[in-house]
Symmetry: C2
Subunit: 311 residues, 2 copies
Amino acid sequence: MSKKPSMLIVGAGAIGSFYGAILKKAGCAVSVVVRSDYEAIKEHGIRIESPLGDLSFAPDHVYRSGDMPETYPDFLILCVKVLPGVDRAAMIAPWMGENTRLVLIENGLDIEQELVDAYPYNPLISCLAFAAVSRVDSGIVEHKAFGKLVFGRYPQGIDGGCQILAALFRDGGINVELTERVVGERWRKCLWNTPFNPLSVIANGADTRTLVDTDGGEELMRAMMREVMEVAAADGYPMDESLIDKNIASTRKMPAYKNSMALDYLNGRPIERDAVLGSVVAIAKRHGIAVPHLNTVLVTLKMRAALEGRA
Amino acid sequence: MSKKPSMLIVGAGAIGSFYGAILKKAGCAVSVVVRSDYEAIKEHGIRIESPLGDLSFAPDHVYRSGDMPETYPDFLILCVKVLPGVDRAAMIAPWMGENTRLVLIENGLDIEQELVDAYPYNPLISCLAFAAVSRVDSGIVEHKAFGKLVFGRYPQGIDGGCQILAALFRDGGINVELTERVVGERWRKCLWNTPFNPLSVIANGADTRTLVDTDGGEELMRAMMREVMEVAAADGYPMDESLIDKNIASTRKMPAYKNSMALDYLNGRPIERDAVLGSVVAIAKRHGIAVPHLNTVLVTLKMRAALEGRA
């Protein structure tokens, strides 16, 4: 067996810790870069309870922001939140070697270009995670369900790096779907996230059932989804209109559920407003498409943030 | 001098207490119906500090909801908030004599018809108050500035009752403007209130300056005002488009200010969402006019209310 690629997870929160553990299970060297959980992870490693079994592991190296690496990783997997004022390109600079492949497991739309601009010669793999994981405490993560990854090379195609990474995640027990058009997959995920996540914040952390059962709620969701679809189509990623019915139906089938943005809001953490919603409104503007429902939610969230002293 | 008409104020909060005091000053007998402030007002009367001088007065009678009156008033002045689940027609039933004129000093649109339906033979005078007054404590009200009333017979015209009432308010020191088309005046007031008041709630009680200075805030205000105008025009009350510029300019000239709905929200009191916003969206629906910005704000407020266990 040839040597497995080395992995560096930047941002070992719930998502980063979980997929790092999967790669560790697949036999890779897995190091992490962490901020607030450094002491805990350095001392006790990362503990993960999962239906897949005990995924706890000790990272090969634990770095803090700005530390210099022992060696450059084969894959740098970026799992930090996409927030205005957080310069992700600068954040990963110390660890980006000439042959390092950059992997994003992050939410939102139009989140890749600033990294392509900063590292034009490093292949970029863009991933969407469908996993119910949450950080319970410093270095302690709970994996509740799901885990599938959908990814491809950005802006399109499937390269050798994608194939290697897919094989490793599958070895670790995760479903992977490779896609030639990953931006289209981002649009499909945003079809749900762009309405539901910001609305849950506007509604002070309401769960999915409350949102959809409010008088006029389902109609508002549908109107926002239609706007997302229209912008996606103008951007070159048309979707089938039946997806709206499917999204509403599956939301009604799920138990009442607080999405991660609602939880971030309730816990006083910054929210990925611009990655998930602001970017869609910006792309709409570029294409001259009116998105009054999305824009109203975006601006009202900004009004509220102004009061809270957030960005 | 002939005997002055008798007045009954139903809902002696800030607005009811203030205009009751003005009528008392004009020489009328003024009684009040109060809920939570009954004991304080029964014992100490109503204390009002005002740039017009000390307007404090002892009401001729202090009633509780459901009490029977000594006599029916000539004018019953209704100053309670317009809230779903509050049956204003039932509330005033004990005091509505055959010749009682009903006067509303209340915010919102389309708030008269249920009272016309309940009391078809009592003339109804619909009033808009432009006054900065606030309730400081039980039976204690502060009048800070302004005080003008705009009113007319509902649905239109100016009758003898309007003339009598106008003369009394003017005697008490208040500017009055009589209007043949009071519903049009309600629309003009809603041009500002319908966007600003609900947005201040969505933004967790933000002041006017924060709302208008937020990135995209002024544009959202303008879009909402354009929708209000379009609905008003379809309803028979066209407005001049320049009013939007004027409203924005005067908002920018005012010091940062929390409107009454923001204060109600911050103090955990119910808000007049439906009178100020829901009614406009309902009228838009009747006329087949799309109001996506207004509707998004309405539904998101309902989503939040669902979580708070409010209506």
